[in-house]
């Protein structure tokens, strides 16, 4: 931003008063019927009473409030502009600092995730919530490949989540497959569904693609609801086997030995909860490493280039079909793996869990976190899972609060919580730039 614009920006007191007077006038007009006039029951008949002092106070409050709000916003804008100008003067330095902070936050989040179940080993609620956060982190990272990196707006990610979950549920209940053997197979099944979605929508972009993915998500859900022979219909599939610790189940007693008896521990239901937590932590860390690495490989750069300009990619000789399909397949596979975990954790799944609402939340996580940012997805998942949890005290206002928080975040940071993009390779190491 140029300093010239900046100098002319600060309004005078008169301008501020005028602005506030405008608001006060609106408040007055609205206030006359809403506050100024009131009805009261007097001796059986309805009388109209006036409350002029209250209206006066209301208008005065609107005037002062507007003045203060405007002033506060202007101060904030000014501060940001000064900061931006300083940053523009020394680009290298700020870049390096923000990268360091990001790295540090990442490791800090990892550290917290690692010790959390140990610190709260007797608090089922905390570990359960943290597990939910991690499921969303994993779903977010999967969708981040499709939406954040490849720029393909996908409103049906819950479909792949469902495919993974049902694949595991069926493989385990019908064929007796274990968690770890079913995991890759279910992941690949979801990837095939990803290709099935990607293939017909190759020529679509943006809004049009979004509608196709939305439809795809609904098709999967409707099929699961109605194909009773396969999926149990609305009743879902129950008694899905839980993952075992290398064959040792988490049950009070068993003929072949249990986790508790093998390690000489007293049985506690928390063992399984904590074990599940570490399983999803491991899965999401693998996802993170995989996606991070892929981003620095030709295919990852091709995804990002396709997001930036598909026509330019074609002109450079890139086979867009492969690039697009690989993004869809990988995103779907990661969603499917998260679905497997979800089914194993819940022990019961039904189409209820894979509605459009779920897709919307996963997409919100990616957008709120900052498209393409891995750490952003983590922060957004924490916010989106914890907000409704913390909001339980507000009862019916919970979702209202949730929505307001999302709007605030987007106003505060239009690019998402973390919109910084780190180049996949550098000519000069960061910090050595002039």
């Amino acid at each position: 931003m140029s300093p010239l614009v900046f100098a002319n920006n600060a309004p005078t007191l008169a301008e501020r008063c005028k602005d506030a007077a405008g608001i006060a006038l609106i408040a007055l007009l609205l206030g006359i019927p809403m506050i100024g006039l009131t009805t009261a029951d007097q001796g059986g008949s309805l009388q109209v009473l006036t409350r002029w002092p209250l209206l006066g106070a209301f208008v005065a409050a609107a005037f002062c409030g507007r003045l203060a709000l405007r002033y506060g916003l202007d101060m904030l804008k000014q501060r940001r502009q000064t900061r931006d100008r300083e940053a523009a003067a020394r680009p290298g330095k700020r870049g390096v600092r923000s990268i360091r902070i990001l790295e540090l936050t990442g490791w800090l989040a990892f550290g917290i995730a690692l010790v959390l179940p140990i610190l709260f080993s007797d608090n089922r609620y905390v570990v359960d919530t943290a597990t939910t956060v991690l499921i969303y982190v994993m779903l977010g990272w999967g969708l981040n490949v499709v939406v954040g990196l490849a720029g393909l707006l996908d409103l049906g990610h819950a479909a792949f989540y469902a495919v993974g979950a049902y694949a595991y549920a069926l493989l385990s209940t019908q064929f007796g497959w274990g968690f770890w053997t079913a995991l890759p197979v279910a992941g690949l099944t979801a990837a095939v569904f990803g290709l099935a979605l990607g293939w017909p929508s190759l020529r679509l972009r943006g809004d049009y693609l979004a509608i196709v993915t939305l439809g795809f998500g609904e098709i999967i859900r409707v099929v699961l609801t109605n194909w009773t022979d396969l999926s149990g219909g609305p009743n879902g599939i129950s008694s899905i086997p839980r993952p075992t610790f290398f064959g040792l189940p988490f049950v009070p007693s068993s003929d072949t030995g249990t986790f508790a008896s093998f390690f000489g521990l007293e049985f506690s239901p928390m063992h399984r909860i904590i074990f599940l937590y570490y399983v999803i932590l491991l899965l999401s860390l693998l996802t993170n490493v995989l996606v991070k690495r892929l981003r620095r490989l030709p295919i990852g750069r091709a995804w990002e280039a396709m997001r930036e300009d598909e026509i330019a990619c074609k002109a450079l000789g890139m086979n867009i079909t492969n690039v697009k399909l690989s993004a869809f397949a990988l995103g779907a596979m990661l969603g499917g793996v998260a679905g497997v975990f979800f089914a194993a954790r819940q022990g019961f799944i039904s189409p209820e869990s894979f509605t459009f609402n779920e897709s919307a939340i996963i997409l919100a996580i990616v957008v709120l976190g900052g498209m393409g940012s891995q750490l952003g997805v983590v922060l957004a998942s924490v916010v989106l899972v914890l907000l409704p949890e913390l909001g339980r005290d507000f009862a019916e206002y919970r979702m209202l609060l949730f929505g307001a928080a999302m709007i605030l975040i987007m106003v505060w940071r239009p690019g998402g919580i973390l919109s910084h993009r780190e180049p996949t390779l550098r000519h000069q190491p960061a910090g050595e730039q002039a």
């Binding site: 995989l290 690495r293 892929l294 490989l297 030709p298 295919i299 750069r301 091709a302 990002e304 280039a305 930036e308 300009d309 026509i311 330019a312 990619c313 074609k314 002109a315 450079l316 000789g317 890139m318 086979n319 867009i320 993009r421 180049p423 996949t424 390779l425 550098r426 000519h427 000069q428 730039q433 002039a434």
Partner: protein, 282 residues
């Protein structure tokens, strides 16, 4: 084919090319031979079909009629219209830039140039497998790709911008980055769509030098659409003039400047030689 040019030296031959959109013939029976290792200019008033011609060459449009064939030194004669659009750059090594710059704005300049080498790198990364494992063969390929990008950036005086997001650069610099990116694809034929648009006189002077240097050093052929006559007339060995999709003149810059058809097409008046001279030799 024009007299005095033997077939060996023709890199691209366009025969009876026609591109119709509904009833409108954007290109009407165009035949053209582009000599190898030279700069051929394509000029014409707005809407003459120049960009449509490029789109037909580079696989973005499938021509309604006619043949565009590239004389590839190792792969023989390639019919460009029969290739899938991405193979025009990859296999036939015909690479273009765009009238309205199409960089990857959020990616750095260096990344833009690495993306241009996608096909080679993707192969070297074993379709990501060797890459994920970080095998030395892939690392070496990546280093080579970076070295090539750095080489072009140095030659085009862009090296200090290597780590800047492409979208943050000034317009003229973005044009040069787009050329550098196209060069990273190893083009035989480089099609530049108005590379001087939006450049100031000093910058277009530099562009002239760059184009001449490229043809001399890199042994490539350039096909140039341009409105800036100071560029076209100074660098082109050969010029083709289009109007309403038809070729109305062809020849050396000197011949073109004095061609009555061209003067008429540009000014619509026969008695306006002086005006034309003002524009054409600016």
């Amino acid at each position: 084919m024009r007299a005095g040019m033997n077939a060996e030296n023709i890199i691209l031959s366009v025969e009876h090319l026609t591109m119709r959109f509904g009833g409108l013939a954007a290109i009407d029976d165009l035949s053209l031979a582009v000599p190898a290792g030279k700069i051929t200019g394509v000029i014409g008033p707005n809407g003459a079909g120049k960009t449509t011609f490029f789109n037909c060459l580079t696989g973005f449009y499938k021509p309604t009629e006619g043949v565009v064939s590239l004389n590839h030194p190792t792969r023989g004669a390639l019919r460009l219209a029969d290739l899938p659009s991405h193979q025009v750059a990859h296999v036939a090594q015909v690479v273009r830039t765009f009238q309205n710059i199409r960089l990857f704005p959020k990616m750095t300049v260096l990344e833009n140039l690495i993306v241009a080498q996608h096909n080679a790198l993707q192969k070297a990364s074993g379709f990501s497998l060797a890459g994920i494992l970080g095998l030395p063969s892939y690392r070496k390929a990546e280093q080579q790709a970076v070295a090539k990008a750095v080489d072009w950036l140095t030659r085009l005086h862009l090296i200090d911008k290597a780590d800047t997001p492409a979208g943050a650069l000034p317009y003229g610099t973005q044009r040069r980055v787009e050329i550098a990116r196209a060069l990273c694809v190893d083009p035989l034929l480089l099609c530049l769509d108005e590379p001087a648009a939006g450049l100031n006189p000093r910058e277009s002077g530099e562009l002239n030098e760059l184009l001449l240097r490229l043809v001399a050093d890199a042994k490539l052929t350039i096909l140039l659409i341009e409105h800036d006559m100071s560029v076209v007339m100074n660098v082109s060995d050969h010029i083709c003039v289009l109007n309403y999709g038809r070729k109305i003149a062809e020849g050396t810059p000197k011949q073109i400047q004095n061609d009555p058809n061209v003067i008429k097409a540009y000014l619509g008046e026969e008695d306006a030689d002086e005006l034309l001279h003002a524009e054409v030799s600016a």
